[in-house]
């Protein structure tokens, strides 16, 4: 297990470096001047040049990368051009909020997805299966940013039950687990949960269906096991894959919530990202994408390792 872990870690390194290079290059292939957004519109050429060198944007690309990655490794992602605050602080604060949202969405999505998927896989080719498949396909087909808007109209504007935006009363920054805050979480989390419900349900359905059609299930019945015992075996067999699907979905939720966060003004990484995009805030853009994708890489790693740990079929040496 240990060597597996180490090998997996070593394998992650080049990927992480590749990711950082892409993050770095992304913002440099962009046309236009990154400082535009923060300079007063009528700044003179010298003022612009001075600012450019203050932000280190006048050095050759490889040098900029080396400086950037060196600092990044020390936890210093530079300062946001727009706000002057350390990018790392901004990103981590935002990622915390995104995580909160992603976890909440998972808490909604995974049990539902698992439940539906399992039942559909179990009752394969029945009306119930069709129904679940329909739900699942609807889930993956609905543009969730649109759904979010629709939910806001219904539940915030029309019914006035739930807040439409923000992560707390008065845009509060400190999250606490009280009703006033949790209210804010409901709509975005539900919206975000729709896609993973579909994906998890579909995957688990296929998985459980496949497992049920495997020989050993017949052998289990042949042993005289009851239905419930056989289900236990099936669940145990499906668990590693289902877990890894859910892990990946969690990663996707974190990286893919930008549209939802924009719709709900949720102060998370996606919202930060869209601000960074809009303001062409280079360091912030780089930092956010880097952190999110590294988080995703890490999530993949955890998923793989966890899967290896619980799935005896995967060779661990």
């Amino acid at each position: 297990m240990f060597t597996y872990l180490v090998r997996r870690l070593i394998y992650v390194l080049p990927v992480a470096i590749g990711v950082s290079i892409i993050c770095f290059l992304l913002v440099h292939i962009a046309p236009g001047d990154p400082l535009t957004a923060i300079m007063p519109v009528d700044a003179t050429a010298e003022e612009q040049a001075a600012m450019r060198s203050a932000y280190g944007l006048d050095k050759p690309l490889p040098v900029q990368y080396a400086i950037w990655i060196g600092k990044a490794a020390m936890g210093d992602l530079g300062k946001s051009i727009a706000t002057g605050r350390p990018v790392a602080d901004e990103v981590f604060a935002a990622v915390r909020n995104s995580l909160l949202l992603a976890f909440s969405a998972s808490v909604i999505a995974f049990p539902i997805g698992l439940f539906l998927g399992f039942l559909a896989g179990y009752f394969r080719d029945t009306i119930f299966d069709r129904l679940v498949t329909a739900i699942a396909i609807t889930g993956v087909s609905v543009p969730n940013y649109w759904l979010g808007i629709v939910l806001v109209i219904i539940f915030s504007v029309q019914l006035g039950w739930l807040p439409s935006m923000g992560a707390g009363p008065g845009g509060s920054g400190e999250w606490t687990w009280d009703y006033a805050h949790v209210r804010h979480l409901i709509l975005p989390a539900v919206t975000l949960a729709v896609v993973p419900i579909g994906i998890v349900a579909r995957t688990v359905r296929a998985l459980v269906g496949d497992i049920f059609s495997m020989d050993f299930v017949q052998a289990l019945y042949a042993k005289g096991l009851r239905h419930s015992d056989v289900l236990r075996h099936v669940v145990r067999n499906a668990a590693p894959t289902a877990l890894s699907v859910m892990g990946l979905q969690l990663g996707y939720l974190l990286g893919g919530s930008i549209l939802i966060e924009t719709v709900f003004n949720w102060p998370g990484s996606g919202f930060l990202l869209s601000n960074a995009i809009f303001q062409r805030d280079l360091p912030l853009l780089q930092g956010t994408i880097l952190i999110l994708s590294l988080f995703f890489v890490g999530m993949n790693l955890i998923v793989d390792v966890a899967q290896a740990a619980i799935d005896p079929r995967i060779k661990r040496s």
Partner: protein, 509 residues
């Protein structure tokens, strides 16, 4: 009493250290609230254009012998939120903060926002605690307007924060009617009244004001409708029926802002022909456009809003008269068989740009009806700013003959001079269209050298008359800075200004 929660259009809390960012909104919510400037705008009246009034300086005058030398009397008894007194030395310290890169307190971020606002200032010194002397590079009568930009932050606080502006940002100190008690980047800022404010009439009546950045218009509306905020800036026009229908109030007023096409005056530009310019101005049904904007617009009668103190009495009536437009075009040699083709730079969005796309399309159609065919070059807002800086002659504008921009036109410089002055031709300045006219230049010089405010206003009126009579811009409309608020909000008077006074507001239950 009560707490006012405001949904701003900015994406972030403006810079808190003094000189703000985030444009006019930054100054509005984080500038004139927490800070004061030496000379300020009168924000008490909704009926007339606002004028300059004493701020931290009680009076100012120029030396009649040396018209570059200004003396300002500093208000006595003013203290910062941290308790330290405000003196002439503090004013000097604040100028150094913006203008002198060698100084300890130099802050590039504030400098980036403030330096270009006071181009006239050459030097400054404190003659005593309450007398400040400012020397300009050349005689410049617009200095008071320039000084209205500069916000004064506390030196004592900066020193207490280890001379670190980032620390200051978290707990800033100004002399303004509001104190910033805390903020979460991109989420909220909390302001409470400064009960020791020097102008008792402007001590806030509220307990608290909370600012929330809500850049997305429909998110702002939803937030207001669902009771998460009490006040939103710039509600989308289409949401206004829904807002008023639900008992929310829309407040608006004209203010120094215009939405124009800045025309290229390079050789070969069709806009060099005054008949074409006038024709275009006559082709647009501004009332129809107002409808598109939900009634939230003031149709342009000139470059400045009709209520401006500098509007004057232009002879060219900017109105909708397509027949006259067609006639003018025919005179200029264009007609149905030979339509005039022009290329126009627009962007799909941008702060303060109102609804650039629908509006430009409207303009496009209006012009098409009289025989001007417009081809758009659509670029992103940030790119647009670059192209605006680059000027009409730059290859990157790709031969576009106009650029759609909204202008902050609050003072003589930003309102008139910067657009057409020969020495500010892009890329050295913001004269995008390369316009250069002797007579105009002469008027600009007069503005700068007329130190008597009344006389200066007269020159400004004359200048604006020339703007209009020669149809130097395609003058379309003015924004009215709409804001929507819950019926609980009371006592707000919307001044004809970019900035507003929040002190009189109370909030009921």
């Amino acid at each position: 009493a009560g707490t006012l929660r405001v949904g701003m259009t900015a994406a972030d809390i403006p810079l808190t250290t003094g000189q703000t960012d985030q444009g006019g909104e930054g100054m509005r919510f984080m500038g004139y609230t927490v800070y004061d400037s030496l000379i300020e705008w009168d924000l008490t009246s909704a009926d007339k254009a606002s004028v300059l009034i004493p701020g931290l300086a009680t009076e100012w005058s120029v030396d009649p012998d040396d018209q570059t030398k200004w003396t300002l009397k500093i208000r006595e008894g003013v203290t910062f939120h941290d308790g330290s007194p405000f003196t002439a030395q503090d004013a000097v310290w604040n100028f150094e903060k913006l203008l002198n890169p060698e100084s300890e307190q130099y802050d590039p971020r504030q400098s980036a926002q403030g330096k270009s606002r006071i181009p006239a200032v050459a030097s400054y010194k404190a003659l005593d605690d309450y007398t400040l002397e400012i020397t300009t590079k050349t005689p410049d009568a617009t200095l008071p307007y320039q000084l209205a930009w500069i916000l004064m932050s506390s030196k004592a606080n900066w020193e207490a924060k280890d001379k670190n502006w980032e620390e200051v940002a978290k707990d800033p100190s100004g002399t303004g009617p509001w104190k910033l008690t805390g903020f979460v980047p991109r989420e909220r800022a909390e302001l409470v009244p400064n009960t020791a404010y020097w102008d008792e009439t402007r001590i806030p009546k509220l307990d608290k004001m909370i600012l929330m950045p809500l850049p997305e218009p429909s998110a702002r509306t939803a937030a207001l409708l669902s009771g998460q905020v009490d006040w939103i800036e710039a509600p989308a026009p289409d949401t206004i029926p829904a807002l008023t229908g639900n008992g929310f109030e829309i407040v608006s007023n004209a203010y120094p802002h215009n939405w124009t096409w800045h025309l290229s005056r390079l050789d070969g530009s069709p806009w060099n022909d005054i008949r074409v310019r006038k024709a275009a101005n006559l082709a647009i049904d501004r009332e129809g456009l107002k409808q598109l904007l939900g009634g939230l617009a003031v149709p342009a009668k000139g470059f400045l809003p009709p209520t401006s103190q500098w509007f004057g009495n232009p002879t060219f009536d900017v109105k909708y008269d397509p027949e006259a437009a067609k006639a003018l075009l025919a005179e200029a040699g264009y007609g149905p068989d030979k339509p005039l083709k022009v290329k126009a730079l627009i962007s799909p969005s941008g702060s303060g740009q109102m609804l650039p796309l629908p509006m430009n399309e409207y303009v496009q159609q209006s012009l098409a009806e009289v025989g001007i065919e417009v081809e758009f070059m659509v670029v992103e807002w940030n790119q647009m700013i670059n192209l605006w800086r680059a000027g009409a002659a730059d290859p990157s504008v790709d031969g576009s003959q106009s650029i759609n921009f909204t202008y902050f036109i609050q003072d003589p410089f930003t309102g008139l001079i910067r657009h057409l002055s020969c020495d500010l031709i892009a890329p050295n300045g913001t004269n995008w269209g390369h316009y250069c006219d002797e007579e105009m230049q002469d008027l600009f010089n007069q503005i700068k050298t007329t130190f008597d405010p009344e006389a200066q206003d007269a020159v400004l009126r004359k200048t604006h008359e020339k703007f209009v009579n020669e149809a130097l811009f395609l003058m379309v409309t003015h924004d009215v800075a709409p804001r929507a608020m819950s019926p609980k909000v009371d006592g707000f008077v919307q001044a004809q200004n970019w900035y507003q006074n929040f002190s009189g507001i109370t909030i009921g239950d």
